[in-house]
Subunit: 209 residues, 4 copies
DNA sequence: AATGAATGAGCGTTCATTCAT
DNA sequence: TATGAATGAACGCTCATTCAT
């Protein structure tokens, strides 16, 4: 209906709008992750996020209907990425290689995404956010542990319930320590040691005890 | 409490004032821990704390110069308790018994003090809450790891730097998992399994690899 | 509507533009009346009106320079309609028939246009909405009362100043009551009673007192 | 417990607090009536009210938990006064005197309380306030009309349902006209004329038609 | 003529903090 | 020591208005 308008003042096309919206949305999310990660959900104002993203306060509400909804969107995208990683890990047939992958991927991931990981953990300890994030976190964790149990079973381990939880706790604990003090925590050495500890030889030896 | 005021003229003695102050301070701290851990720092108002402590809002400022200062005082008291625990663990001469103690104490502690532990982690992940938490946390962690390294060395382990960090990470990871989902996490079974994994026999076998 | 644009080059004629503008303007006014009357002036956003009218927010500003100006335009169109009604009433030669007409028209009008009437009163009571409503309302009212005075005089009544005001007040009061509770107010019975009260016979009897 | 404190820095007594609160509350209500009356509920901000009352914005929330609650409190007090008036009117035994009282009281009331009356009417036309005020208004009106019906019946009138509503509408219509243009509306003359119209003689004559 | 992204002032509300008593 | 009325800055959020296209 408007495609034939003669002068140059025509509204943006759908594609242009799509692009604008996508870019703005992504700018906001990025800024929000950064701010939430450092200052916590309640310690971060929409103003902070808008400033960080270089937009006005009002515009944020053009993209997310509330501060909570913004947090939720971020969390969901984190979760999505997490489930993708689980899927990839699941596709490796050799259980010992799988274990090694889990360790290596986790350590590498936290190094590359320290902000996201800090945000993820930080949210978990804000009791009033329960309902927004806690359910998602628990579900994801459960899934992860189920995968590890499966792998451990395939590797021939017994008592997989407790062993899988210890393994998962060790990984998360390492990520925790790294976040607290990224400069000084020797994550690569720890990774190497842990890989060896959960190597085929060690596991087979451990099985016989 | 008011027994010296019967004639209405005699002012309180210094000792009485001291006692009153100490009791009030402790009432406030207790109320604050309870409220912060249920509702989070930002979700708790001074009013909430005052009500819980049975005092007026204004009086709280007689004892703590700000909400942040109150939080910091709590954090410091948690740290203090932590150092005491380190001290106790250090006094056990047998390294294998020491390791067992660390595992058992940690698991039992988090079960009994889940609120404090959640509060502690929550604060640790929001550096803006108190400027200094990160330093204090790092210092404490460093101390703890030094202790574990010493114990591991005594137990004859090699590569104690990485091994101690893995051990500490496992413990903290377990506590983390427990906090996330106290109802369902099988902490006692995990504890038992971990104790066995770090028993004298297992460690001695592991040393030879 | 776009039939002249088939080759995409021929600009619209002045008449077409005029027609487009007129239609758009009227669509907006209609939508605004509907929304304002349902949700009130402050409760209605330009977005609401644009959505109801099926246009974009920006376009509304092409036709009305502000939300207030839109409201004012509506108010003026209501006034205009009011003056037309006065004109019609004035053209009836028989004063007793005129009185009957005023009563009947008013009651029927409020039943059919309850939203417009509610909007009108709402605006009239909030002088800040449009600076000039009060003046316009007073002018209109004055005109109406002058007409009634004229009619009453023709009907032979004395003390027409007060009587006309009482009559007008009764009519407006009835409309007011109807708006307050349209479900339960027995407007038809009231109308009938009032017509009888201001019938030729009654007026003639009243005159002699 | 504190009545014997030796220095002068003792908390205010309950009586002092009571007085402070009563005065502040009344200051706020007065300011709110004034502001709401001129600018409408939505057109008035808490800031406006606070400024008018000479207090801070925050303090208003110490006395009323929300803007709506403030409006409701005002409305309730108006209603209360209204019901008291109904009660007084009801206690007069002579129905003709009662009718005269209603007319006179209403006209005098609106002259003395024009702000309250403007507020009362203005609120009724803000559709989104339904629930806060409309119910109260309808209930009050119903009560008033019931009283008038009773009086009219006692005075020997027939068709009291419609007659009472016409009478009430006339009164409210007069008040309406007065509010619109207090300077020029000849309320006293109107009052006198209406009193005569509803005098014993007129009613008795009217009854026979 | 038409679009909707973008702005920013302003709103209702909360709450850490102060202060007169 | 103890109270709670009072303040004011800040928050999440809305929306009239502007502007590039």
């Amino acid at each position: 209906m408007t495609e034939q308008l003669v002068n140059g003042k025509m509204p943006r096309t759908k594609e242009q709008l799509e692009k604008i919206r996508e870019e703005a949305r992504s700018k906001i999310i990025k800024a929000a992750i950064q701010q939430f990660s450092f200052k916590g959900y309640h310690g971060t104002s929409i103003s902070d996020i808008a400033k960080e993203a270089g937009i006005s306060k009002g515009l944020a509400y053009n993209y997310f209907e509330s501060k909570q909804a913004l947090l939720k969107a971020i969390f969901e995208s984190i979760m999505e990425a997490g489930y993708e990683i689980i899927g990839e890990l699941d596709s490796e047939p050799d259980p010992f290689k799988q274990i090694e992958n889990i360790i290596k991927n986790s350590c590498d991931y936290v190094k590359k995404n320290i902000e996201i990981w800090r945000l993820y953990l930080g949210m978990a300890f804000q009791p009033d956010l329960i309902g927004t994030t806690t359910n998602m976190t628990v579900n994801f964790t459960t899934e992860m542990i189920k995968l590890i149990e499966k792998v451990f079973r395939k590797a021939g381990l017994k008592n997989v319930g407790a062993e899988a939880r210890i393994f998962a706790a060790t990984i998360d604990g390492i990520m925790l320590y790294y976040i607290f003090d990224p400069e000084n925590f020797p994550i690569d050495k720890v990774k190497k040691t842990l890989v060896k500890r959960y190597s085929k030889e060690e596991i087979n030896r451990y099985k016989q005890t």
